[in-house]
Symmetry: C2
Amino acid sequence: VIQTIDLTKIYPMGEHHITALNRVTLTFTRGEFAGLVGPSGSGKTTLLNIVGTLDTPTSGQAIVMGTETSALTSLEAARLRRQHIGFIFQTFNLFPVYTVFENVEFPLLLLNLSPAERRQRVMEALDWVGLADRARSRPTQLSGGQSQRVAIARAIVKKPSIVIADEPTANLDAENSYNILDIMLRLNRELSITFLFATHDEKVIRYLRRKITLFDGRVARDELFEQP
Amino acid sequence: VIQTIDLTKIYPMGEHHITALNRVTLTFTRGEFAGLVGPSGSGKTTLLNIVGTLDTPTSGQAIVMGTETSALTSLEAARLRRQHIGFIFQTFNLFPVYTVFENVEFPLLLLNLSPAERRQRVMEALDWVGLADRARSRPTQLSGGQSQRVAIARAIVKKPSIVIADEPTANLDAENSYNILDIMLRLNRELSITFLFATHDEKVIRYLRRKITLFDGRVARDELFEQP
Ligand SMILES: Nc1ncnc2c1ncn2[C@@H]1O[C@H](COP(=O)(O)OP(=O)(O)OP(=O)(O)O)[C@@H](O)[C@H]1O
Ligand SMILES: Nc1ncnc2c1ncn2[C@@H]1O[C@H](COP(=O)(O)OP(=O)(O)OP(=O)(O)O)[C@@H](O)[C@H]1O
Ligand SMILES: [Mg+2]
Ligand SMILES: [Mg+2]
């Protein structure tokens, strides 16, 4: 469902350059529950952005849902994302002018649903993250962890084929973290939604069935784990 | 060095209101290494913002370095902060137009230092957080954890009397987290700098000599720990 071949990303920086990704070759099949770990600056966000079609490689290929992404126009990439990908950003990226409800409803506006159906799904997603009572608030009225939970609800509300989650528990306490991981695991098992995380959180790492360690833009390790 | 008396913060929200802090009474002495823990939305950031003079209470008092903060004009509050407080924000709040070097140099501009002295201190702080080689980069060219480390360097570069750190390790891997905690502990022991954290991170919690648990805007627990 996601494949990268010799994926490389280089940022020019004056006389030097930064090699954020260095010939990364990985394959993810449908229904995986995988995560990228590694030091700060090792390339996790860069890799997630490229397989999420939000960024393009310097060289190499990213193939998502059978489509070679560098061949896409930005309009086609947006359409691929809208249909298949839910993205939780490391910096949340909520719309500050809209309410929590409207932020979470946004991905559903392009599907053929009645307002009542949309409302039911938004409230279900907000229930999952424990924020149904804040539906009318705006992002500036939320704590860090509440904002992160709204970003999570928005990414999973349309139950997309692929959820890309960049450090989704960074600002969450343990109870909220485990609650959200349980919900994500259930979506993964019941609907075969593929989850790809970047994380520093041991609590998340314990849930992963596959753990890929990045170091200096390269794959240093790729391990599989049995989960009960 | 910090004292709160019946500190209360209420946000009006249509027909309801949110009581972010509910009669919080706490005293912090010079040289403490203390942290606030508690669920997402329990009031940690609100309390740090008020004792950091970035926000005012609805009722009750906050007394910082002997000054009752609600009596301050916003100009006087800014002066108190500049002189005595270093702040690490939950959302970093770096200046995107300036370089990493300039961001970290900013708190030093108001002290009587030569450019050479400022440069020496900025590079020392960047060394502490492992980013001396990125001095010329801008925040948009940094990873999440690199941005967080610049925010940390900026808060400690002038070795202020009080450092307020709102989830300073949220986006950091273990090695960077321990490195930064060791540096903060050393500043605390050598210079009696008072540290007040908000955190969900067990790695940080293990370093604290005092752990205050917030729940629903109230102090639920206040515990002291021996540290080797
Ligand atoms: N401007 C505002 N208007 C309304 N409610 C607010 C506003 N700012 C904060 N709140 C609410 O106050 C409560 C406490 O928020 P605070 O940011 O202090 O929590 P926190 O303990 O730092 O949480 P986290 O661990 O998620 O960062 C939350 O319920 C939050 O939604
Ligand atoms: N626009 C850019 N220009 C230059 N360098 C960049 C740019 N964007 C990212 N980088 C660099 O690429 C490297 C990888 O960044 P990336 O954000 O992928 O790291 P990460 O593994 O997600 O780190 P973290 O755990 O801190 O979030 C870092 O060294 C970063 O500074
Ligand atoms: Mg990242
Ligand atoms: Mg907070």
